[in-house]
Symmetry: C2
């Protein structure tokens, strides 16, 4: 399999953590693919018309995206404990994954606004609206983190990517003021899958 990836992308990181948690990493060739909405990439565009990473080419030549579909697919390829559970737990896991994806969407939009868009064209109300989503989302993560115990499924993978992305791009945000979330992240950031995929 081939993964079009970008080491700065928190959505790519979800996939890379899952690959390592499930011992599938050796089956995937990772192709470094720098890309942004104003900086397209012809090879990736031929595989994914949305020109976004992550995109995964499977052994039977399907190209899958986005990160949640790729993770869902990869979780079927191994015989270990599933990172996306069945039964009622499935909905809690997918809802948590969506919460984390939404925080990351808002964070990436903030990043485009404050680091990519020409300074004269930036809009404070937009940044503040996205920051409100990020902060409300972090409050929600902090509220539920104490219930996670030792579970490290798709939702917790998302949460680790949120914490890591904030450290990477929002160093001034002080998200660790939420003690329960900060304590949880300390407990998972030494996992091999998380340590091996720190954004750079």
């Amino acid at each position: 399999m081939r993964l079009w990836h970008n080491p700065a992308s928190p959505f790519v990181r979800k996939v890379r953590i899952l690959l390592r948690e499930t011992n599938l990493a050796s089956r995937v060739e990772e192709i470094n693919t720098p890309v942004s909405p104003v900086n397209p990439h012809a090879e990736l565009a031929a595989k994914n018309p949305l020109v976004k990473t992550p995109a995964l080419e499977t052994d039977d030549s399907r190209v899958l995206y986005d990160s949640s579909v790729i993770c869902d697919y990869l979780d079927t390829l191994h015989s270990g404990a599933k990172l996306i559970p069945g039964g009622a737990a499935r909905w809690d896991a997918l809802r948590l994954e969506s919460l984390c994806d939404g925080i990351l969407d808002a964070a990436v939009l903030c990043r485009y606004e404050t680091a990519v868009r020409p300074e004269a064209l930036r809009w404070n109300d937009w940044v503040n609206g996205q920051l409100t989503k990020i902060r409300n989302g972090l409050d929600a993560l902090a509220n539920e983190a104490p219930t996670w115990g030792n579970t490290f499924g798709i939702g917790q993978i998302g949460a680790a990517c949120v914490c890591g992305y904030l450290d990477f791009r929002f160093a001034d945000e002080n998200w660790r003021s939420r003690a329960a979330l900060a304590a949880w992240y300390e407990s998972v950031k030494q996992r091999a899958s998380v340590a091996a995929t720190v954004p750079a």
Copy 2:
């Protein structure tokens, strides 16, 4: 169940079409929820920290989001033909849903840029980057539409929402220059589920 919805949202429309295709609509109370990144909504924020529609409160008091998770959940509640198939067809369906979601994400970002953001702060490169994603995505839909036959699953629901949203917000875009996609949409827009959910 309760659905926080906004009749202008193409992501909400995916859920509303699925509810009608599966005869579940009578089990869901729809709560009209106008919202945007710069116009939050307190009641919705208490249910979904991302303050986005659609959000679904289930009969066992879970709140689910985003649209793909809600559709996945609802598809388990009926005994008819599944809109998200199993086996290898699952990945084709979810990839197509993601393609449509990505086109819609780009279209909604364009819409925020050209209709919500103050005119002096608009950035042409951003709009053009998103329009490129939309147009490449439409080309991809037009390429594969002839293979869909009479299938109307989660991917085709997404495609109907793409076509409808472009008619609604991008009347000048002439997406119907892609004859195969235009012919397909003509064949599905009279379906009761599609006709009942035209954005307004």
